[in-house]
Symmetry: D2
Amino acid sequence: MMIVIMRAEATMREKSAVIARAEDFGFKVHLSDGKERTIIGIIGDDRVINRDQIERMPGVERVVPILKPFKLASREFRAEDTTFPLGNHTIGGGNGIVVMAGPCSVESRSQIIETAIACKEAGAHVLRGGAFKPRTSPYAFQGMGEEGLKYLAEAREVTGMPIVTEVMEPALVPLVCEYADILQIGARNMQNYALLHAVGESQYPVLLKRGMSSLIEEWLMCAEYILSHGNTRVMLCERGIRTFETYTRNTFDINAIPVAKHLSHLPVVADPSHATGKWEYVAAAAKASVAAGADGVIIEVHPRPEEAMSDGGQSLKPEKFAKLVTQMKAIAQAVGRDIEA
Amino acid sequence: MMIVIMRAEATMREKSAVIARAEDFGFKVHLSDGKERTIIGIIGDDRVINRDQIERMPGVERVVPILKPFKLASREFRAEDTTFPLGNHTIGGGNGIVVMAGPCSVESRSQIIETAIACKEAGAHVLRGGAFKPRTSPYAFQGMGEEGLKYLAEAREVTGMPIVTEVMEPALVPLVCEYADILQIGARNMQNYALLHAVGESQYPVLLKRGMSSLIEEWLMCAEYILSHGNTRVMLCERGIRTFETYTRNTFDINAIPVAKHLSHLPVVADPSHATGKWEYVAAAAKASVAAGADGVIIEVHPRPEEAMSDGGQSLKPEKFAKLVTQMKAIAQAVGRDIEA
Amino acid sequence: MMIVIMRAEATMREKSAVIARAEDFGFKVHLSDGKERTIIGIIGDDRVINRDQIERMPGVERVVPILKPFKLASREFRAEDTTFPLGNHTIGGGNGIVVMAGPCSVESRSQIIETAIACKEAGAHVLRGGAFKPRTSPYAFQGMGEEGLKYLAEAREVTGMPIVTEVMEPALVPLVCEYADILQIGARNMQNYALLHAVGESQYPVLLKRGMSSLIEEWLMCAEYILSHGNTRVMLCERGIRTFETYTRNTFDINAIPVAKHLSHLPVVADPSHATGKWEYVAAAAKASVAAGADGVIIEVHPRPEEAMSDGGQSLKPEKFAKLVTQMKAIAQAVGRDIEA
Amino acid sequence: MMIVIMRAEATMREKSAVIARAEDFGFKVHLSDGKERTIIGIIGDDRVINRDQIERMPGVERVVPILKPFKLASREFRAEDTTFPLGNHTIGGGNGIVVMAGPCSVESRSQIIETAIACKEAGAHVLRGGAFKPRTSPYAFQGMGEEGLKYLAEAREVTGMPIVTEVMEPALVPLVCEYADILQIGARNMQNYALLHAVGESQYPVLLKRGMSSLIEEWLMCAEYILSHGNTRVMLCERGIRTFETYTRNTFDINAIPVAKHLSHLPVVADPSHATGKWEYVAAAAKASVAAGADGVIIEVHPRPEEAMSDGGQSLKPEKFAKLVTQMKAIAQAVGRDIEA
């Protein structure tokens, strides 16, 4: 379903050509002839017709799509919230809020196990930690790789928490699946379609981070890529977008939380660590996320941030994290939800 | 205090010229000679030296300012929170949260009085309403002008709530001061320096909206303009910034709330109505504001939004607003604050 | 003319209410009932109906406006290019390109006269120079005021070049008109509607800078404000927009040049000095402007940039400017235009 | 080399800890004690020290890096322009400008051969065409895959033009290398590090598109990834960035052309088709690119844009393209360069 706006000076012949083209595709057509513009309504599923082609026909000013481009990810396709278990907790559905925490990178066996225990005690439900790290510089620490995955699995043994970790290339999806419980798609890879295909096929739960400059609609289209492989366990993760403001590392698009929940049935997770980039502001952003309706939060925690090999500047110490969980729980209850022990 | 980074190929003569210039201004100078770059530290108040001039000297790569450009607005100048009364309530200081509400525009005597009563009953402390309206189109409703101010004053009579209303040009400051209690500087006028001067001189409390594309630092510099006239009653209002995301009218920079409170002692108010632009998302954004530490919120309320002459799309009906105040109160208490009756 | 898209679940009653409302305004209505959405076309001048009100009616998903919101500024209103004289040269119309040059600020009598002579010799047609300066900091140099205007007038005497200078508040329009030939509206004041009104009434030629975060459409709406006062001598000036990129002071939206010329009949001027903010890149941006179809360029020139009281970092020395005029002339001729002596 | 700015209230102990840490890394340290701040200069290669760690130490306000994070890509590493042959033409070095043209997607054998011949006749030197297409929607045409590569190779046979085509995943690099001459990294994959590694290893010339929201510095860091594999044949391609302006598909950052050439020795190519997204504005943007100093341009050409399976809206017809090459050639000559036949 789309609307074609013809230029003021479009000829009858041009209008007829647009109508004929739409009818060739089997669509029904409605014509509204105004003094200043003629409008042609094309009734049918415009996911199969190429809007660009119509827009390029002579006499056409522009084409307005009426339907959202995503389907499986939309509330219209599925009205009730999608929920699924992550370890002993359930994400989505308006009750419990899932807390994910851990270091940016796995740096050693002892570091990840120490952090995991501290996070678990503070109230976390899922352990995060990067083994393969996307780094701006080729000269920076790139993660421990498979060794890091092994330590994550050990930390799971010790704490019982499921593991979420980033996978950066299709060829590594099987390896990461051997160790992890949840696959994370990083912001830089949101539109890495080969990777979306691979994690879709894996049938593992996916935490899909929003790209730094991606529209909410594009983010949902990437979820659609995963869903179209029959993998319905997708979480949307808002982690801040890039704007002109540089005081914080990113601008946390808090609006995206209620908007994503309005447009989609998928659970929405907030990442206040990346969304602010400075530990001083993480607590405020985390509390705001819960108040705004997030189904989960993911927070970077490091026992000694000043020694962290990446993202130390935005990591909380375990004590600060523990205090934050208590505050988030109070807010969760104030909005009729909870953070379960 | 600033740091001058010399180009790798800068000559001794060029370095000496920079040093001589700084010393002419009475500054102390420190030199660090590295293999790849020479760095010259200039110790003194760089608010009186022109950074641009130094940057333009031969051999200079760039100049890094060390101190913030604002002074009176900074936490360093004044460590404790600024507080001041708005009617019977106090803004700032970490306890009560002030709720401002009312229609976008004053449309008639009965409309503003009806709305004021409803807002008051729902828990508002301050009445908002525009008499002079900045409109994108010269053909759109431009506000009722002085007549609107009179109706606002009547609504204050009826409800006891102080009035906040926008003033758009220096020449109208005296007129607006005759009727209003708080002067609002709109986002489009944040850097209208003649207007900042006039409201600074007025000594009335000012609600300073952040410009659509202004850095937090620039926003504080505009507060500095007002403070420099001896007017210390300035509230900073975050109302959303312009980004690439168009699903919402603006992107609510929730990070700006804790950042502004960190950098400045001034009270911070959130405007979830403009920050989202769609009534469906106002409640989530308002709740997030309280959780993030805002000292006040300002919300558009209209008894019949579908008849509003401006901003109907983002206005709440009184019942929805009343429900929201209850929710915000619960969150305020969860973070150790309150919304007083 | 607008299109109302009803939600999938909208009732007959809701659809009828929208239709009734449109008909009350005297509009003709077309209905397209699709399986997934109903669309209501409203035929008539939607500049008089409030889109927001329709959007807020029950059952409405969104409203798509069909016509541009500006009229007098549009190519549809006036197909041929607007042209008018600036001193001995004509701006607009596809032939000569007007070169405006001069310092950011008037700093002294000798500085402006020296610069004016150098600019004239290098090939400039109009002299720029600020007497009232919008500065981010209240502690920075704010311009010489009326004294500066007098020196500008003297420089005109000496060189014969007309003067363009910024006016920052409505109350000063008469004073500035006493001395200047062209009024400049700065980027920060693009939406200062009281000021647009005042310069509209003045009937002086206006150079309207695009706001730092303004859409092309909003920029044209501000031109519309001026045009609606019967002042048809408006030049649109692209001076860079604010984006995430910080290496340059602004991002030069070169696309805006052909777009503005496509949508409007008004002359378009480029400001490569502000658009880059660094003198090293001004020449490249200036040459690109001419190649992209600008009708004029405005360039900051200072005899000793390292002593400039503002914008020294982006000012060219007279020799560099002279060389640039020669290069721009070659490009102008390559695209079938010229820069006259 | 970096500068550590200590907070006003930092203790001697905190300052000493920072100094001790830097000295542990073998760096030399300079201390500047000011009344308002203490500054510690750390002299040494800060590519090996983690700035984040220092920033997180107690008492530290912020850390300012002095050196650029890229090395192999920088002008400091290599002062003269990098040049290399693409077929019979050379890119880089300030003389000839290379013209790349062809359809967005390969759609059929006849389409690509017909287009290639038309482009060649119009003056193109390199043939572009996508066989693997990154598409926002999983339901859209995803390219012809290997079949498309074969047709591209046939078109090369016919015209003698080398082929540039996008590769989207590391596993497909060998396949694409079998057919193509130049590998394109698309904007969405700019930070797909596994892919950068693979094309680096391939030793094929690479056209590296700038990410939609990437800083110029990040773009150069991605070039650094490729260069660090010993592959020196990298072209930087500016294709527009995402901003708040939506009238055009992207905002063409024309400033990025002289900036990239200033910071780096690598050739810079402009993509006016994506940078505008509308065929009406492609010619203006292409001409501006040449005037601003681009070493090459890449332009989408389709014989029947209204039938194109992707990007028809921004494709030029062969006649328009031929006319544009003539205009670009005139501008190239005006700036002392040429477009060779």
